[in-house]
């Protein structure tokens, strides 16, 4: 299923220009002149023939001929009528870019956020080199993150993806990454099922891992401004966790065979931002958890087994300073919610909505644990959580196969 209908003029250009080395696709509108200037500076010595595509109309394209080996191309932004969700729009734009790269027979395709933070020489080199040299099929970014950044990713998306698909990738869903020709084709086709009203989120690392492709990471010093400003936490959590749970349901036959996880090659040196040693007040998060445990017990009981409920009941009675959610418990909670999402024991919106207070409980526990720790120590703490997910995976497999058997 095509994500976008390429305009006739663009199709003609693709036929005339022939295959290119690299397509950089900006997943949103951008200023063409700024784009050309930054791309020309950033791409020197990386690719001889490159196309920079951005969302926009062909009429707005600069008419001046390319003198620096960089072609600009505007592609139509896909309309995601069924949803106003931010991440689904990003995924639709990423699919369009990958489809464009496939049409251009590009050897590599960089999908990039339209804040152009990744359009810097060092980041471009780290992302493209492993693909162009044939060392990797997909290069995911290893962002320089602080202790309190990307908490949904740290608590759920990355460790669950790692436990299920067996690759230790830190950001399984990202704004910027580079895909080789075969990976681009694979990603374009992934998750697009006929009859579906909206395109699902794109999980590049998981998709490529499943197809047996080589995945690596590039430590890039990129910071995107908070993308979820103005968005409701519960809605973001629903969208991201729901998509990953859906993917787990679709690929159940694959991940049940995966044992443990393998590290992926990492290019560049990891940049740790300055340590924020001042602890965060965990009280509001813990209070949200306690409020949830008082009011949502009836719903949680439909999702989690009695043993987990008992542990949550004990946690809810602790003082804020003593509040610590064990990794194994959190991993089992996420697995139970993934199972409830599959089983449809109640509306999926309700299942995912009921996860928010538990997530805030985890955040409350995590912020207290890493409050006075360095970024490196916090990183090790996240690694410990990821291992807990792997250790608890047999529990998930068992419940997935025999859901009625309460543990």
């Amino acid at each position: 299923m095509a994500a976008i209908e390429l305009p006739a003029t663009l199709q003609k250009r693709i036929e005339e220009s022939g295959p290119v080395d690299l397509v950089i696709g900006i997943t949103g509108p951008a200023d063409a002149e700024e784009l050309r200037a930054k791309a020309a500076a950033g791409l020197k010595g990386i690719a001889a023939k490159a196309v920079v595509a951005y969302a926009g109309s062909a009429e707005a394209e600069p008419t001046a001929a390319s003198t620096d080996g960089v072609q600009l191309a505007a592609y139509p932004m896909p309309e995601n009528k069924a949803s106003l969700a931010f991440w689904l729009d990003v995924a639709a734009a990423q699919r369009s870019v990958l489809e464009l790269a496939t049409a251009w027979q590009a050897r590599a395709c960089i999908v990039m956020h339209n804040d152009l933070a990744a359009l810097e020489p060092e980041a471009l080199q780290l992302l493209t080199e492993p693909v162009l040299e044939g060392k990797s099929d997909l290069v995911m970014p290893l962002y320089a993150q602080g202790k309190y950044d990307g908490l949904i990713n740290k608590s759920m998306l990355a460790p669950l993806s790692r436990a299920l698909y067996g690759k230790r990738v830190r950001s399984p869903v990202a704004f910027d990454y580079c895909a080789g020709a075969s990976a681009s084709v694979k990603l374009t086709e992934s998750g697009t099922v006929s009859g579906q009203s909206e395109t699902p989120l794109l999980w590049p690392a998981n998709e490529v891992a499943m197809s047996g492709g080589r995945v690596s990471q590039a430590a890039v010093d990129i910071h995107h401004e908070a993308q979820t400003d103005g968005l409701d936490l519960s809605a973001v959590l629903t969208e991201l966790a729901g998509s990953l749970f859906q993917q787990a349901e679709t690929n159940a036959a694959y991940w049940q065979r995966v044992r443990g996880s393998q590290p992926v090659p990492c290019y560049g040196s990891v940049h740790f931002p300055q340590s924020d040693r001042e602890p965060v007040d965990a009280k509001p998060m813990v209070e949200s958890f306690v409020l949830g445990s008082r009011n949502l017990e009836e719903i949680w009981r439909l999702v989690m087994p009695p043993a987990t409920m008992l542990e949550l009941w004990r946690l809810a009675r602790l003082e804020v300073e003593q509040f610590r959610m064990p990794d194994a418990l959190w991993a089992r909670i996420v697995y139970d919610f993934a199972l409830a999402h599959r089983m449809r024991r109640m509306s999926r919106t309700h299942v995912l909505g009921a996860l928010t207070p538990l997530y805030l409980g985890w955040v409350g526990s995590y912020t207290q644990e890493v409050g006075s720790a360095t970024v490196e120590d916090a990183d090790r703490r996240v690694e410990q959580l990821a291992r807990a997910y792997e250790e608890q995976k047999p529990y998930f497999v068992s419940r997935w196969r025999w859901p009625e058997r309460a543990s």
Partner: protein
């Protein structure tokens, strides 16, 4: 005197026995028709189930629209369709049975009355089912949203919504069954009017200070996100 009483009792016994004897073939015809249609309903339901499973109906419906699954998640679309076919055929059996009862008895007005009432019964049953499903769905939605908004009275709010929908459903069902007549409308109007008036009085008189303090807090609340929350980035 005693002879007259005895005669009257004999006559009434005779009339009742004759009446029962007249109704008996009709009742038997009704039972036979119902049993035949129950068997047919079971057969049709099994057939529909097989066809839908072969067509992978659940997967298709699940992909194209989540609305059925959202409202009635514990039942699969196939189960719902099968049940619908089963009860459709059973209702048809009841109608055929009534028709047979009418044909074989000398009491056409009973069958006529029941015939005219059956659509109301079906409509009321549908309303009751839909109202219950909607009440539970809305109650859970309100509960989860209120908890995620950190509202302390989340459960109360959810309970209120649930009973509001249930009371509304009950009023609609009674109205549909033509039970209670205008009393139901009147009682419903008084109840809702009373609730609104009570709330207005509570806010206007009893909780005036509380409301004004709450509004003041909202107006002076800083538009910037608190520093603690800004330091946490969920994504």
């Amino acid at each position: 005197m005693w002879n007259h009483i005895e005669q009257a009792l004999h006559d009434s016994m005779g009339r009742v026995t004759t009446k029962v004897a007249q109704l008996l073939p009709g009742i038997l015809a009704f039972i036979v028709a119902l049993l035949v249609f129950l068997a047919l309903a079971w057969l049709f339901a099994a057939l529909v189930k097989r066809i839908l499973i072969a067509m992978k109906f659940d997967e298709r419906v699940g992909r194209s629209s989540g609305s059925i699954a959202e409202l009635s998640p514990e039942y699969t679309p196939t189960f719902l369709a099968t049940r619908l076919v089963f009860w459709g055929v059973v209702v048809l059996g009841v109608l055929v049975g009534l028709s047979a009862f009418e044909a074989s008895s000398a009491e056409p007005e009973v069958a006529e009355y029941i015939f005219a009432y059956v659509p109301h019964l079906i409509g009321a049953a549908v309303l009751l089912f839909a109202g219950n499903v909607l009440a539970r769905f809305l109650s859970r939605s309100v509960l989860i949203t209120a908890v995620n908004l950190n509202l302390q009275y989340a459960r109360l709010l959810a309970l209120g919504v649930k009973w509001l929908v249930l009371v509304l459903t009950a009023a609609m069902v009674l109205d549909h069954l033509r039970i209670g007549g205008e009393i139901v409308d009147l009682a419903f109007g008084i109840l809702f009017g009373g609730i609104v008036l009570a709330l207005a009085l509570a806010v206007g008189l009893g909780s005036r200070d509380l409301v004004s303090r709450s509004l003041e807090r909202e107006s002076v609340r800083p538009t910037e996100i608190p520093t603690e929350e800004r330091r946490l980035r969920h994504f």
